[in-house]
């Protein structure tokens, strides 16, 4: 399935692997913070109205 990367296989896969991990990391962190902030604000607003 993997294309033949020749003698630089390690470099190319490492570059893709690490970059994807970094990008996935920032997406995951942003998403988590987003849902936490949203939930907390909802709770506080509910408290205020109730």
């Amino acid at each position: 399935m993997l294309p033949d990367l020749g003698k630089y296989a390690f470099e190319v896969t490492a570059a893709y692997g690490v970059s994807l991990v970094l990008l996935a990391g920032i997406v995951a962190i942003s998403w988590r913070q987003h849902s936490v902030a949203r939930r907390q604000l909802k709770e506080i607003e509910a408290r205020k109205d109730g």
Binding site: P3, G6, E11, V12, S19, S30, A37
Partner: protein
Amino acid sequence: MSIWEYANPLKFLNWTTKVLPWVAGCAAVCVSVGLIWGFFFTPDDYRQGSTVKIIYLHVPAALMAINAWLMMLVASLIWLVRRHHVSALAAKAAAPVGVVFTLVALFTGAIWGKPMWGAYWAWDPRLTSFLILFLFYLGYMALWSAIEDADTAADLTSVLCMVGSVFALLSRYAVNFWNQGLHQGTSVPVATGERTVADVFFVPLLISMVGFGLMFLALVLLRTQTEIRKRRAAALIARETT
């Protein structure tokens, strides 16, 4: 109704919630198509072998690393001039994303350097400039997290962003002067219209660049929403306790 209406925090939350899924979806599609195309379906370069595939990560990440800083600069200026809170928060939200892009650009650049230059790290001007840009990002984020009062933090980081931009630019030229580089010339010269990259490489690269741009946009919108909600929650809590 002016364009600034969209900068009202609540309005901002509303319209971004509507567009965010679309932007994020397009970003995901473009990034996946660009990278998968680049990784699986492009030929090797006759000189660089398969390492040419790193370009689909390296160039878009580097491009967005700089654009992220520029966006922060513009947002800082808007904050200083028009005092739109969303603008300051957007600058704050963009910084960590910019850092990640800078890291990706640095990492892929270093790993590309190993087969091409024979060493993981060469003090090549462009690579060095990115390292310096990385340091500026770190300082900017450190200053945000060090100051408690939100408006003061926004003011100070905005001024830092402006002064930092000047010094980052200055460093770029200083570094150029200091060590003439090994780096190849720009791969996508927009101004001259002349391309050094063949079409087989260029199309997936372009898709990947668009994808990274959209991804940046989506992340900044998402993170700005987070910041707005955090601010609002903090304000409500402050009101409760008094």
